[in-house]
């Protein structure tokens, strides 16, 4: 694993949107199509997975609650396009999720270069609104 080329980002997302619809939303954001839970682009590959660690109580912790959000996106930017591309792709995803009032946090080596340092929980987010899920 070459550090210079390691642009992988684990993007944690909390929302009540059904998985299939969420995948379609993300594909549409990039004017692309999905293959099951995967979106393949020139800029990156994105997998959208239910987070096995989802925990409706722990997710509300402002420090590390993101680890327990409902979804985890594995974002693997095209290394050949460099860090700028990685930042652009992850920023685009984050801004989109935040615009929908979804909490989303990016865990990657370039967090400081992302808007809001890659982490935002929308003000007054109603954590209780989909308490029945698992």
């Amino acid at each position: 694993m070459n550090e210079e080329l390691d642009y992988y980002c684990g993007l944690y997302l909390d929302c009540s949107r059904e998985e299939g619809l969420l995948v379609s939303d993300v594909a549409r954001l990039f004017n692309s199509e999905c293959e099951r839970n995967y979106i393949h682009l020139n800029e990156c590959d994105i997998s959208i997975l239910e987070n096995d660690d989802f925990d409706e109580q722990k997710r509300t912790n402002p420090e590390d609650g993101f680890l327990f959000y409902r979804y985890k996106l594995e974002v693997e930017p095209n290394a050949e396009l460099g860090e700028e591309n990685a930042i652009a792709v992850v920023s685009k995803l984050l801004k989109f999720f935040w615009s929908q009032d979804y909490p989303a946090t990016a865990a990657c080596g370039y967090e400081d270069a992302l808007p809001n340092k890659g982490k935002l929980i929308p003000e007054n987010y109603n954590w209780g609104e989909y308490y029945i899920w698992k």
Binding site: S47, K72, Q100, I132
Partner: protein, 213 residues
């Protein structure tokens, strides 16, 4: 989501414990529709009910409410030849650079999986090896950043997830080839909370000279 209408909550199917399934099968002879089982699932269930042992006991410990049971010989949802292929793909992939003790665990090893259940693949490693992989996978962790918090979670659980060890592509390929919803491949530290059976070891790799003989 201020003011937005909430989506309707989907009906939740309650997953029946395996022991319940077998009892019900004995009584009524059919549980397929209720649990969404495939024909293969039912075959495995019949085996379990009617006494053909599927594996030597490996662990009688329980975790997360799973019923006390033993591992199957072949993961639920695969036949032997397909499991051999599944094993071969993993053994010939980047996964094997992390370790060679690779096993299936979770509901597909126990036999109480639904048709849509994920399959869990554990690459079991010593604590020393785990730390070595951890250091490499999270080398961009800085005090207080999200990568560091993810790393601390990995230490706490003894599990490094597939994205962090660059195995997402392998998972996707296996999902496409074998039809699982998700193939979860992770590095598991020996002795950690998740290091629990029942297990099904991957099939051993057949060497080229053995194939020829």
């Amino acid at each position: 989501m201020t003011g937005a209408k909430l989506p309707s909550i989907p009906e939740i199917k309650v997953e029946r414990p395996f022991e319940y399934q077998t009892e019900k099968y004995k009584r009524e002879g059919n549980i397929g529709e209720e649990v969404g089982a495939t024909a293969l699932d039912l075959l495995l269930l019949k085996r379990a009910v009617f006494g053909k042992p599927t594996a030597a006991p490996q662990s009688l410990k329980t975790i997360g409410g799973l019923p006390k049971t033993v591992a199957l010989e072949i993961p639920q949802g695969l036949i032997e030849a397909r499991f051999a292929k599944f094993s071969q793909i993993i053994r010939e992939s980047k996964a094997s650079q992390y370790g060679t003790d690779i096993r299936i665990h979770g509901s597909r090893a126990v036999g109480d999986a639904k048709a849509t259940s994920d399959i869990y693949v554990a690459i079991r490693v010593s604590p020393e090896k785990f730390n070595q992989i951890l250091k490499e996978a999270f080398k961009r962790a800085k005090p207080g950043n999200a990568v560091e918090r993810t790393m601390l979670r990995a230490i706490e659980t003894g599990k490094i997830q597939r994205g962090e060890i660059k195995l997402s592509k392998l998972g996707e390929g296996l999902e496409n080839e074998f039809g699982f919803k998700k193939v979860d491949i992770s590095v598991i530290r020996e002795g950690s909370l998740l290091d629990q059976g029942p297990w099904i070891p991957l099939k051993k790799q057949v060497l080229n000279y053995e194939r020829r003989t």
